[in-house]
Amino acid sequence: MIIEQTQLDILNHQTTDQYAEWFLNGFRDWSSSDDLDDLDQAFAPIQNVLSLFDIPLYEQLAEIYNKLTQTGQKAFTTGLAQAISRCMQRPEGVDTLWQMVYLGVSIEAESIIDNIIPSINKYYLDPSESFDEPTFDTFNRIINVLSYWDHPKLNNYWLWAIHQPSLPSDDASPIFLALCRSHPENFPYYLFLASSHFAKLLKESYFPKYMIREFVTIVNWDVVLRNIPRLRLIDPLRKQPDIWFCRQLQKETKNNENWYGVNMILTGLLTIIELNEPFNIFNYYSTIIRVFFNFTDQFQAVKESRSNMEQAYLFFFNKANIIQKQLYDLFGLNKDFTPIYGIPKLIMNIQP
């Protein structure tokens, strides 16, 4: 994109208010006006630098932003935030708001976050307001792009939004994934927060395949393993509200390179992650040990790091019978019960 210094100078000296109008009128005329005079004025003085077709406008403006001075960038982002807060009051608001948010996310303009959240709440999540299809489309796009931006303010907002009954359930997946990107170890909690939406989505054939496919690329096996016991897989009522999550995880991990060599074994009562080649034996047993940790405090003395795995291994071997008994007690199994596939069998097979 070739832009003259004189054009940049004008942009670098625009005030925040000027930028706000520049965005509001520019996006309006660029998208909808057939009047060439309007087009001549839209995004002046760079209207001739921008292409009407083939390249999204927000991307072209993001490129312009990168060429501005620090002061120019500050006015640009603050003006964009102002335009976003005023946009929905204008007739063309629904058509232009999402484009402004795309631009804001592309250049990571933090200042837009405080201004877009009230619009989401007012026009999308307010249970007393109904919205039409274009409004749904706009805010669905906005949630989509914002969910890929890992920012503390947004993450705080997602924590609230994900369990709002008025949130369209389809948006729960991108928000869940956004939260997982930020704090992967808390995924069981996020799953809990979104449970009413996910319960609805589970009636749909596509769910949860795509969400879990994305999940396994952003949360690695180690994190999942450490946090599996926080899932609601066993509770006093013998219900397993999160078992669907593990089942899909089991399917998706087989095809994911981040999880190469990792098998999940679902026993019905217990989820084990088993590491195969190319992981070495210490990792293999450390994994099993970690699963035990999560069920009892008995083994807290054993550290999880690889450096003292030998010690852990011996500890594990010596305590094998106790562990097995505890597991049986824990799950209320009698001694005649066929060992749960996985753990007890492995314990018996350990050789020092």
Partner: protein
Amino acid sequence: MMLETLEESCSGAIVLANIKQALANGDIPPKDVEKFLKACQDHLTKQNKEFSVNDVLNVMEKKIKNKEFTLKGKKLKTSKDISTIMHWSFAVEMMNPTIRSRHTIPAIQNKVQPKHYQNFVEAANESNFFSKKVCIGDKKRGFFWATIRDDVNALRTECEKNGVNFANRIRDILGLIHFIPKACLVEIQIEAKSVKKMTLPTFIEAGKHLRFKARSSSSTSDFGQTCDLGKTCPPNENNDHHGLPEAVVECISLEQPHRLQLKIVGCVKTLPEGRTNMDDPKEQESHDCHFLKLIAGSYEGSLAEAIKKVININ
């Protein structure tokens, strides 16, 4: 005046060379060329100020928002299925929002990763993949660019076989100079029977796109032919810079179902034409001048005057 202004730089002269060639070939009726150029000139005159080559090119591009000027080239017929290549963001904009959410597809391209391709392709198999209000092509200008599907398929296979980045190659062979690194592209394959109107592209549809090349007089095909950016640079005497057949097609509304197939092209990794950057006016001018030489050959007279001999414009 407008035509003389275009003659001031290689970028403007590229447009003139294409006008002259289209008229010489009879690719478009002279009255339609005249009408378009007069509309552009009137707009520039109304502004009551001096105008530059860029001003003219921009008015030409903006004028094609008015559908009365486009699709005036020779009508084309084909029994072959066609393909169009588009930017990821535009393809995702066409999607039904619910499908987009459900398949966790990012709406903006700088968040796209190869893992999303599979989701996209699977989403495309859903019967309600497209939002019903959309059409293939830009609604504003009322058309889209297309090439022959089988040629794209063959190129894809060849690239896979030779380990060549398909996105780079398709960008080059179709002359899509505006797709620079990080641009992720999608192909839509369309059955021939879905096409209502298809014409030979001319300088009018090209707007300010500076790698459009009018069909050569020796061409035996009714279709236009792209200029392969992979063959135009480095500058040499090689005249074999032909790419693939091209046409412009009237927008296809998706209110009625059509059998379409979507394929991922991938993301462009390199700049076109062996460039070092796209922001340097000197480098741009040098490439434009080289391209002008390729399409206008050794023509030494005034291109503006040559055009004025055929159409009535000041």
